[in-house]
């Protein structure tokens, strides 16, 4: 207990507290030149368009990527959960495979696949006639965020699929058999038996998927480094670049300011998560009341 508490305290609880403390400092990290600025960093953040754009991009990332991952992986999980599908373990393995790969390495591989100079994806799309000239997926501000998002969905799809499969396994097979005996079709079983039984899992799976989607640093940094013109800079990339890798020559690292950005974003995420849990609870409560009333 003691060693693990020390570990957790050092690398989890201490940093959490300290990042709040740092966020009140004006500090470059090189020296003891840190001095207290109170809410100065937060006041500056409020008027920093780069921060708010990165913030918006991260939210957009979650709002688009999470529903796609949830929906597609649910469909795949339902199909794979069919006992008659003998190859199901093989498919599960293949869908899960990208999950185990390293984000930063996959990012490099994908940036080659996306290449506008006869890269395989452009080649294939032109081959089947969807486009007639290559798209610069990562090099144009209009498409870079979406291209990165596609890779993120591909890489982490398997995690959400496994969540759904775990949830599906809690549905007793007898229920489905009973429904089939009563003459219910596949769709009806799904709609009236499996669906309602999966519902309680939806909140936690959404939360885990959303949380996982927010941690996209490796893929984004290795594919676009937030570019071009910050068009794919998500909040983690923003924090990293502000704190450790200022890109313009005269800029100095701003650890205090980056901490403030992290704290502000962290609080917002917590609020959203709490709101979501609260909404889920109240929906469940309303349903329970409706059922009692009936």
């Amino acid at each position: 207990m003691v060693p693990s508490t020390v570990l957790a305290a050092l690398f989890t609880f201490y940093p959490t507290v300290m990042s709040w403390y740092f966020s009140f400092l004006d500090w470059s990290g090189f020296s003891d030149s840190a001095h207290f600025t109170g809410l100065g960093n937060y006041r500056e953040l409020m008027h920093d368009p780069l921060f708010w754009h990165a913030f918006g991009r991260s939210l957009l990332f979650v709002l688009v990527a999470v529903p796609i991952r949830m929906g597609l992986s649910l469909i795949v999980a339902i199909v794979l959960n069919n006992q008659a599908l003998k190859l199901s373990p093989l498919f599960r393995t293949l869908f899960f495979l990208p999950v185990v790969t390293t984000g930063a390495i996959v990012g490099v591989v994908m940036s080659l696949l996306y290449s506008p100079f006869n890269g395989p994806i452009n080649h294939a799309l032109m081959g089947i006639g969807v486009i007639n000239k290559p798209i610069d997926f990562l090099g144009s501000p209009g498409s870079s965020l979406w291209s990165v998002m596609a890779v993120e969905i591909w890489k982490n799809f398997g995690i959400t699929m496994i969540y759904w499969l775990a949830a599906l396994q809690t549905v007793p097979r007898e229920y489905q058999e009973a429904a089939a005996l009563d003459g219910a079709g596949r769709w009806q079983t799904l709609r009236y038996i499996t669906g309602p039984l999966l519902l309680p899992f939806t909140a936690i799976i959404t939360l885990l998927t959303a949380n996982n989607t927010l941690h996209t640093f490796g893929i984004v940094q290795s594919m676009t480094a937030g570019g071009p013109y910050f068009s794919s800079q998500t909040i983690e990339v923003y924090i990293y670049q502000t704190a450790f890798a200022p890109d313009s020559a005269n800029a100095i690292p701003r650890l205090g300011y980056a901490s403030a950005a992290g704290c502000l974003f962290g609080v917002c995420i917590m609020l959203i998560a709490l709101l979501q849990l609260w909404a889920g609870r109240s929906v469940a409560r309303t349903r329970a009341q409706l059922k009692d009333a009936r």
């Binding site: 693990s4 609880f13 498919f91 495979l97 999950v99 790969t101 930063a104 080649h123 909040i235």
Partner: protein
């Protein structure tokens, strides 16, 4: 299904309607399987392409969607392994991963043991704190972690990185251990105590050996985390290239030799193949580890 297939006479006595339905079901399975097979082919195409390109020479990297090569160029691997220092980075990654696995398993198992078998004031608070911490963005804590390692003078060796990778709250693993230990019978503890075993002895020689499946899951989760982590090693090795891990090395390779595509893909293959092989062999534990988050 197999039982049905082995007994054809029973099937013959089925009413025709049922027989038709069953045949339709079988056709459906074949169609679904074929579609899924095609989807899966596209799904893992990027990884296969990576391996294919790692065997080509640089002039033939971008030749459409094909996966073949005329001449197998193994020199790409040599370039990646020694010139791009992937060999060193491989060793670094291996050391950090192994070290952090050992530390994590003991730390997490003990924590789960205490949470699962003893009740103490503030237990609920500890669990709640853990649950909250899962959802903090990584960028949120990276600055204090780096600062802390600097102050402890651990940032100039692999030890710092190893410790930082083992830190962090392994909530899922802790809860898995706690759940597992709490289901074991109390008599074990009493018997150990009668035999004169203390707290530590009871844990190491009675409980930990019983928890092998959970240990396996924890090892896998930590393996994935340490091997694949990017932000932390990147920041910690910004000024110390010799300590880079594979993911950081790959990133640096891309930045330095940005036209050596086949060398890049050879490096990527070096980084990913061990993971994939391990996954294929220990799949069950990978899947259990991931699913554990939902089951709790």
């Amino acid at each position: 299904m197999t039982a049905v297939l082995e007994r054809p006479p029973v099937r013959r006595t089925d009413p025709p309607k049922q027989r038709r339905r069953r045949r339709r079901g079988r056709i459906r399975i074949v169609v679904v399987s074929t579609v899924l097979l095609a989807v899966c082919g596209v799904w893992i195409y990027p990884l296969i392409w990576m391996v294919a390109v790692s065997l080509r020479d640089n002039a033939h990297v971008f030749t459409g969607v094909g996966l073949g090569t005329d001449v197998v160029h193994l020199d790409n691997y040599q370039r990646a392994w020694s010139d791009a220092h992937m060999g060193e980075y491989f060793l670094n990654t291996l050391l950090v991963t192994a070290g952090s696995i050992v530390i994590t398993v003991f730390a997490v198992a003990m924590m789960g043991y205490v949470l699962g078998r003893y009740s103490f004031p503030g237990k609920r608070v500890v669990i709640a704190l853990f649950a909250i911490v899962v959802f903090l963005p990584e960028g949120y804590t990276i600055i204090p972690v780096v600062d802390l390692l600097g102050r402890l003078h651990l940032d100039s060796s692999l030890w710092g990185l190893t410790l930082a990778e083992s830190g962090g709250a392994h909530v899922v693993a802790v809860l898995l251990f706690a759940g597992y230990f709490s289901r074991l019978p109390k008599q074990l503890e009493e018997a150990a105590m009668l035999d004169g075993a203390g707290f530590v002895r009871t844990f190491f020689s009675v409980y930990l050996p019983l928890a092998k499946p959970v240990v396996a899951v924890t090892v896998i989760l930590q393996f994935l985390h340490s091997w694949n982590d990017f932000l932390l090693p990147l920041v910690l090795t910004l000024t110390r290239p010799t300590l880079r891990t594979l993911s950081v090395g790959m990133y640096a390779f891309q930045g330095e030799e940005f036209t050596d595509w086949s060398g890049m893909m050879a490096a990527a293959t070096i980084g990913l193949v061990p993971l994939i092989v391990l996954f294929l062999f220990l799949q069950r534990y990978f899947v259990e580890g991931v699913a554990g988050a939902v089951k709790q």
